[in-house]
Symmetry: C2
Subunit: 294 residues, 2 copies
């Protein structure tokens, strides 16, 4: 199977699993379950769950078994978007071309939807205890909670918010990215690796892979905001510039930022050597990330 076909197949499997794991839209109280599903099935790339699956595959683990944890990562990602879009936060009316959760269900419901998705993520992880040694599940819970908390994703979010309309250093910008998006990528890869039975060396390599991959992803995101096609990325191009946001291109220039993305991508792939052909997907994923157009 080539990369595009496999990515599509895994995304589909993730979607099916999410449909299975989430409360049905008609379950009482139906409004929140419908609203949770509205944002979960809003056409995301499923990058985080696919990272979990691919990391498990790279270490020779069972991909089907790790699905609940993969889906948990997607729920955490989705909750963070729902809360991010709120009027008190980024105040976004659209995401991926569709009205944001609070535009459809109201602010109060959107707050609760985010809370419920986050909570449900930990329920899903705990349910994996049926399929794995329980201590591994606890390790993974700890990894993911750390990555999602005030020392991870939320910390990045806070610093990003406090840095708005301010000149910030490259160091602060890196803190923001490493936490706001990087932490969850890292936790996804590590969770998949740990549950798949990674050795210490394998876990170290995959951890460094995830960090470089996250960096490449972020620089590419910044580049797309300048060079991208509005219809494809689903939001106005140039919004970072308009909001005077500190980005890799604004800090290092367009050419240098492109080089940095390329270097991070190569560094990520270099960590995959010991896995041979089992890491083919993770390798292609990096190329996909830096050549994507949305």
């Amino acid at each position: 199977m080539n990369f595009a076909t496999e990515l599509k197949a895994w995304s589909k499997q993730v979607d099916d699993a999410l449909d299975l794991y989430l409360p049905k839209a008609e379950e009482y109280p139906a409004t929140i379950h419908e609203a949770m599903r509205y944002s979960v099935f809003a056409g995301g790339k499923r990058l985080r769950p696919v990272l979990v699956l691919a990391a498990t595959q790279a270490v020779g683990g069972d991909v089907a078994k790790v699905m609940p944890v993969a889906c948990a990562l997607e729920l955490i990602h989705t909750y963070s978007l729902v809360h991010d879009d709120l009027p008190a936060m980024d105040n976004d009316d659209f995401r991926r071309g569709r009205p944001t959760n609070h535009k459809v269900y109201g602010e109060a419901m959107a707050i609760l939807v985010g809370d419920a998705l986050l909570t449900h993520a930990f329920e899903l992880i705990a349910r994996s205890a049926e399929d794995y040694p329980a201590d591994k599940v606890n390790t993974v819970t700890l990894e993911i909670a750390w990555a999602a908390g005030s020392r991870g994703l939320i910390g990045g979010q806070v610093v990003d918010m406090l840095s708005e309309n301010k000149a910030i250093t490259g160091e602060v910008m890196e803190y923001i990215h490493r936490h706001k998006t990087g932490a969850l990528f890292r936790a996804a890869v590590r969770a998949g690796a740990i549950l798949g039975g990674a050795s210490e060396e394998e876990l170290s390599c995959l951890t460094r892979y995830s960090e470089q991959m996250g960096l490449a992803f972020q620089i590419k995101d910044d580049l797309l905001d300048i060079e991208g096609d509005e219809a494809k990325i689903g939001k106005p191009v140039g919004s970072d510039l308009k909001n005077q946001k500190c980005t890799y291109p604004s800090l290092y220039g367009l050419e240098q930022a492109r080089n940095m993305a390329q270097q991070a991508a190569e560094a990520a792939c270099a960590e995959l050597k010991i896995f041979g052909s089992r890491a083919e997907f993770l390798r292609s994923l990096v190329h996909f990330i830096i050549s994507r157009d949305h």
Copy 2:
């Protein structure tokens, strides 16, 4: 030790543990850690963590060891209050006589504070894996996530919100209470019992205890809104009446509601027989709950 002294001692131990488990106020990014602490140390009764400790004690478990899980319950309770108070939700400016989180730190930060407290709760539970058989920790994670999620606390919250200014049946009112407050009481007691090594019979008795206790608590809450002393309960008396909220007194009358609280309290205590003197605290707690003045 008599009940009041023991309650005070345990509350103090919970406070000390929370201080230990939460990121320090100066840890980067300091704003959120300070804001998390602002709401956690806002003078709550620590009822949920104390229930965890007391349930462990009743089954002969180690009270000190269960402290992280006890604190996790308090973090979940606090997060739900922070989000509840938001302008989009109940829009409360004061809680327990102090400005609410968003009044001090702004709405965006208060949303993130709630998210971070909820996430940190699951981190704390997972950390207990050092002290307990890992499968028990997973069971407890599952119990608590269920109780806090859209089928528990959040579900109650949703139905409460959708019922505002509407005539609702006693059944719907009971759904709201059983989920909005009852679910977390139940999870607290069950978590303490499970980690303390409860037998199946002990767990069943304590579960029923928690349900009756939660009912007594809720009816008393409704009664305090009519009969309470504003200065003591820290919010305006009569607000339920003003908001046309369906309460036990509004549905059954004052006298009958008082009887129901008394009956629930007695039913709760009846479940404690098999525990003998080890359940002395849980017994006194019920009397405390229905005789409290705030």
